[in-house]
Structures are given as C-alpha cells and as structure tokens.
C-alpha cells in the first residue's frame, strides 16, 4: 500500500508519481477518460478525477464474495489494453478480496475485520454473488458465519455499497427456478440501505470503474433508477442503441441460426432477443477490449442478463413485447386507402325495405285511383 500524501500536488506531479510506480501515464489517462465518459462526466472534470485517483488517500475497498462464479472479478482482470485492473488496484486500497489475496484462514478474516473497523463509514463494500437466505442462510458460510451475517455486518459499516453482477443485484443464476437456497440479491438482504446495483453477467467492468472513480473523486454516487442501477449505464434499453436497429425498423429479421438473414446480420428479435426489455449499455461498450465482442455483435440474441424479470427465467428464444413501439422504416402515402364499409347484407336489407315501401305505395295508389272523383267545394271568401 502506498503512503499517503499530505500536500496537494499539481496533476503533472501526480502523474509523475504514478509513473514512478510503473503505471504508464497514457494508459492511465485513457482509462480515467473512458470511465469519466461512461459516467457522463464532462471532459473538463477528467483532470480532477485523475488527480484524485493519483493522489488522494486510496479509499478502502472490501470485496465480498458469496454465491458467485467469480466472473465479475474475472471480467475486471481480463482487459489488457489498457490494464484496468492495475488502474483500479492502484487507485483503491483493496483490503479484502477472496480471489486475489494470498492470505487465507484467520489471517484474511483478521484483515477484513481490521479494514472494516479502521475505515468504518468510509470504505466501499463491493458484493459479488447472491446471498442464500433459506434455512437461516446456511448454504454459504465463510469462517463460520453465514453470508447474511457477513453482509449485514460489513455493509452495515460501509460508506458505499455496490452490488456487482446480476447475482448480487437480484439473485441471478442461483435464484433461478427451483432456487433451492432462497438466493437473494444484496438490496433484498440490506433492506433500507442505498445499494448501487450493477447487474450483468458479467457486468461490464467500465461500469464498475465509473462508479468507483466518481465516488473516490467526488464522494458522490451517480444517479440511480428505482432498482439502484446507475442511469448512465442502465438508463436505456439495448433496443434503443442497437446497431441492428435499422434492420428491425425495416422488418428484416434472422429467422434461424445460420440462415441468410443471420449471415447478413439482420435483427435477432425473432430469435428471442431480449434487447427491447433489457436495460444495459453493452452495445456501446462491448466486452473484452474487442470491438464487436458482445452477444448481438457475434450473432446471438441478447438474453437479458441484467433484468431480474428476464434473466435465467424467460427462455432464451422466447420473444418479448415491445414497450414503446416506434415507426417502421416505411412511409405512409399522402392519400390513404380505407376498406369498404359497404356491407352486402345491409345493402340488401335497405333495398328490401325501400322496395317494400315503394311497392306498398304503388299498390295503394292504384287501388285508390279506382275510386270515383269528388268535386272540390267552390272557393270560399
């Protein structure tokens, strides 16, 4: 852990300090700029973020793992250009992480206890994985304590709580039917607390980076929706930013994997794409540092991994409804056609009625005309 600085150096000096630690300045700025852009902060604030990242006392981060596959951690570690992991690990003080720490047993539990007590009210608690609640939560115990106990104890003293991944956000895969362990997300267990949820399977690491950087630079959390998801990443559905949207609007769909439409990159809606109902920014960020590396980009319909109502519940190839239909890629003509309102039955009935009346009058008139004429009285005064 680096020593803290009591003075407030200029950004140049801060970056020089980072260079001494072996961190490439360009890569560092790239990462910070990307994170700032993701969070929606203006470019003018990047220097401030960078400075904070380089200089401020590195905030303590306690990273809890429960019912998880560690995919979210791995997604953070995978990118190499730039190396986010190093950035993150150098701007925060990771005081507890079960995967990355060499220590085990009593040592690591002591580290956790120390970090929590020393930084109470100020540390960031990241939770990865779902929390089992059935049968008093015995299905996940670490160091003799259940996940429920641990999360209440640790998150109870945290300055900010981030639930990383779908499992920590709402239960994810462990909560899928038949849900034998009563798996719940962190917000459900930590009722009443503000929990920033970053669902995804895995979550895009830039989303985590953006939240963490904003917190350490400004001490604030980004604007959240009703489910605790940052609006900068989860404010829009995939359908709204999907590069295949023009195909949807024009009615061009892939109907089977490998068919002509699929090969041409047509819209995957009819193959069960959950894009219209899934809030996420995958189409904008992609994954793994490879452009186009995201589900729809490689030709598989979105599975809605960020949505509690869809992920691991709705079959992969079932279509979802469109919440806000928009006009198609066609134009109505100036003069609209309308279907005929003339019903043959009605015409017949009307014809019969009119004919009957005319016929009756004709018969009546001919009968009346056979009566003798009567003279009119003389004109009176």
């Amino acid at each position: 852990m680096a020593s803290t600085s009591s003075f407030d150096p200029s950004p140049i000096e801060a970056l020089q300090a980072l260079e001494q630690r072996g961190l490439d300045r360009r890569a560092f700025m790239k990462v910070v700029s990307a994170a700032a852009a993701a969070v929606g902060l203006p470019a003018s604030l990047v220097p401030q973020m960078a400075q904070a990242a380089a200089v401020k006392k590195r905030p303590s981060v306690v990273w809890l793992h429960f019912q998880e596959c560690t995919g979210c951690t791995e997604s953070l570690l995978r990118p190499a250009n730039p190396d986010i992991a190093n950035v993150i690990l150098d701007v925060i003080s990771l005081d507890y992480h079960e995967t990355l720490f060499a220590a085990a047993g009593y040592q690591i539990e002591k580290a956790l206890k120390t970090a929590v007590e020393e930084n109470a009210g100020k540390f960031v608690c990241i939770i990865e994985g779902a929390i089992p609640t059935k049968d008093n939560g015995i299905y996940c115990k670490i160091g003799g304590k259940t996940a429920v106990e641990i999360v209440n104890e640790v998150a109870g003293k945290a300055g900010a709580i981030i639930a990383l991944g779908s499992c920590a956000s709402f239960g994810g895969i462990p909560a899928a039917s038949p849900d034998p362990t009563g798996a719940k997300g962190a917000p459900a267990v930590l009722a009443g607390k503000t929990v920033v949820t970053l669902p995804g399977c895995p979550t895009n690491p830039y989303n985590l980076l953006g939240v963490v950087l904003q917190f350490i630079a400004f001490g604030t959390l980004p604007a959240l929706d009703s489910k605790g998801r940052p609006l900068f990443a989860y404010g829009r559905v995939i359908h709204e930013d999907c590069p295949r949207r023009p195909h949807f609007d024009a009615g061009r769909f892939a109907l089977a994997f490998g068919d002509e439409g699929h090969r041409k990159g047509y819209c995957l809606y009819k193959l069960g794409c959950k894009g219209p109902s899934t809030h996420a920014n995958c189409s904008l960020l992609h994954f793994g540092d490879v452009a186009g590396a995201w589900p729809i980009g490689i030709g598989h319909p979105c599975v809605g991994c960020t949505e509690q109502a869809i992920a691991f519940r709705v079959p992969l190839h079932d279509t979802v409804g469109i919440d806000r239909p928009t006009p198609p890629d066609q134009y109505p003509p100036i003069a609209t056609d309308h279907e005929s309102r003339v019903s043959p039955l009605a015409t017949g009935i009307a014809g019969v009625a009119v004919g009957a009346v005319i016929g009756a009058v004709a018969i009546g008139a001919s009968r009346l005309s056979k009566e003798p004429l009567k003279d009119e009285p003389k004109k009176e005064g």
């Binding site: 009935i349 008139a365 009346l368 056979k370 009176e380």
Partner: protein, 392 residues
Amino acid sequence: MSAHAQPSPVGGKLLTPGYLLLLAVAAVGAGFSLWRFTKGLGPTTSMSDGYPWGIWIAFDVVTGTALGAGGYALAILVYVLNQGRYHPLIRGALVTTALGYTIASLSIVLDVGRWWQLWKLPFFVSHWNGNSALLEVALCVMSYTAVAWLEIATPVLGDYKGSKRNPKLAALAEKLHPALKKALPFVIALGVLLPTMHQSSLGTLMMLTARLHPLWHSQLLPLLFLISCIGMGYGGIILESTLSHRAFRRSVDSPLLSRLSKVVAGVMLGYVVLRLGDVVTRGALANASPGYVFLFGVELFLFAVPAFFLWSDLRKNAGVQFGAAFALVIAGALYRFDTYLVAYEPGNNWSYFPSVPELIMTFGLVATELAVYIFLIKRFPILGGRSSEPVT
C-alpha cells in the same frame, strides 16, 4: 251534410298482430341501442372519420323532421293564411309532427358520442356559440318538440272537459285547459317561427363543409331546404291523412286534399325553378360527373313530374294524389340524402353505407313512432271524419 265530423278516438283493439309486430321491431331496436351505448358507435355503425354523419342524421333527423313538418305547413295555411277549411286535418298533422320531432330528438341522443352532456346545451347559455347553425337547429328542435306537443295537447285536452267517461282527464282539463287555450295562439305563432328557422338552418349546416359537390353546395341551401320541407310537409299530410283515414275506416275529405294538392304543386314548381336556376347560374353542371348529373336529374324529375300531376285535374283522383304526394316526399328525402351523404366527398377511398345494426335501430325508431301514433289516434280524439264502423 258536413264531412268535417268532429275528431274522435278510433277505438278498437290496440294489440293487434300488426301492432305487436311493431312493438317487437321497436324492442329489437332498443336492444341494439344498448349495444351502441355500451360499445360506442364504431362497432355498431358504419360511420367513420371520413363519413362522420350517417343515416341517423341524414334520415332520422334531417329527413324525419321534414316529414314531420306537416303540422308546420298546415299551421301556416290554417292560422296565418286563414284557410280554415283545412282545419280538420290539423290534429292528425300535429301528432305526426310532434312524434316525428320526438323521434328525431331520440335519434340525436343515439347519434351523438357524448350524449350525457346534451343537457348542458339549453342551460349553458354563456357557452352558446351564436355562429353555429347547429346550435340553432338543436335549440329550435328541442323547443319545437315541446311546442308541437302543446299544440296537439291543448285541443285534445279541451275535448275532455266535462267528460264523464274519463274523470281524471276531465279534472286535468279543468285545471290546465283555460291557461293553455289562452296561450295557444302565441304557441302556434312559435310553431310557425321555429320550423322556419331550423328547417332552413338544416340547409345552412352543409354550407360549412368544403367537401360537398358543387351541384348541391350553394348559397341557396337554406331556402331550398325550407321550400322542399314545406312541400314534404304537405305531401306528408296527404299521405298521413289518406292512410290513417282509410286504415281506420274514417271518411276522407278528398276534395279538401285535392285542394291542398294544388298548393303543394305550386310550392314544388317554385322549388324546381329555384334549384335549376341556381345550378345553371353557377355553372355547376359543367364539370359534374355523369353519375351526379343523373342524380340531380332524378331529384328534379321526382319534384317536377308529381307537381304537374298535382296541379292538373288528375289531382282529384285519390290514387294520383297519393302516389304524387309520396313521390314528392321521396324527392325531398332524396335531396336531403344527397346533400348530407351521397354528394359529400371525403376522398381517400372512404365509403359509407349504413350497417345492419344502424338500419335495425332506425327501423326500431320508426316502429316506435308508428306504434305511438296508432295508440294516440285509437285512444284520443285526433282523427276526424265519419266512421263507417260503430265506435266500440
């Protein structure tokens, strides 16, 4: 010997098989109207944004009130022009008018989309739009319905004064009739003013649209509607009088009717001259399609030919009278249908023909009118003429 026998109830059994059939048709129509009120106009009618007005306006209201203009037309003859000899016809004509306008009012309730707001029309005076011809039509129709009922109720009630067979009606007559009778001339004057206003305004209504074919769209629409309505009114009297007197075995005053026929003929010939003159002066025939020219020709033919018959001595033949009066009524109805529906051109392939439920509800309303009419003339002193059957 006077053929002007005093009006008396026709009497006889009310619930004849024919009458029960009328009631059945009325009931079916009422049932369909429940569907219309719960589901809206879309599922039950053929009206659309292209054709917002259908037969409930064109027939039930516009043509129906013109058919019921007999009371109006006769009131002019009898009370304004003092031709008292036509007086025996007036009660029957007034019942037709009162009923016709009541049914037209019911049709309006059926037709408008937000019918529960109709009560606001006569009372929200500060919201009245004086520019709207339709407001004038609505208020006049409402008032005239009341006036027509007053006009017929007053003399009928008067007949019950001192009646021993109907003590309740006699008591009512004692209480109300004196005031009603005093007011009657003023009510009658109102009954001449109001239809003059709204029957012409029914023509004014269609001046506002940009989609009426030039053969029908004219500055003379109000005048043409008024004149044709007078003709239809007189024609309606001839029809109603002939039918009801014969159906209920009363003697018919044929000479009276044939005098009336000559009046009608004169009015109709005047209409034909105006209509033709207007169309020719505006050059509206020039670019009209053959279909429209034919329709226009049929209208004029149906006005002119019977008018000639009714002017000539042939009018003394009851059959000619009847047939010609019917043709005139049809002509007036056709003119109104053309103005409101046939020559109304929304473009964009919109089409309209009344749907089956629409027709059924119209039949229901007509059946209701007939049923009430028959009830009234059987139970109340409306029809004159000597009975050829003993009154039961």
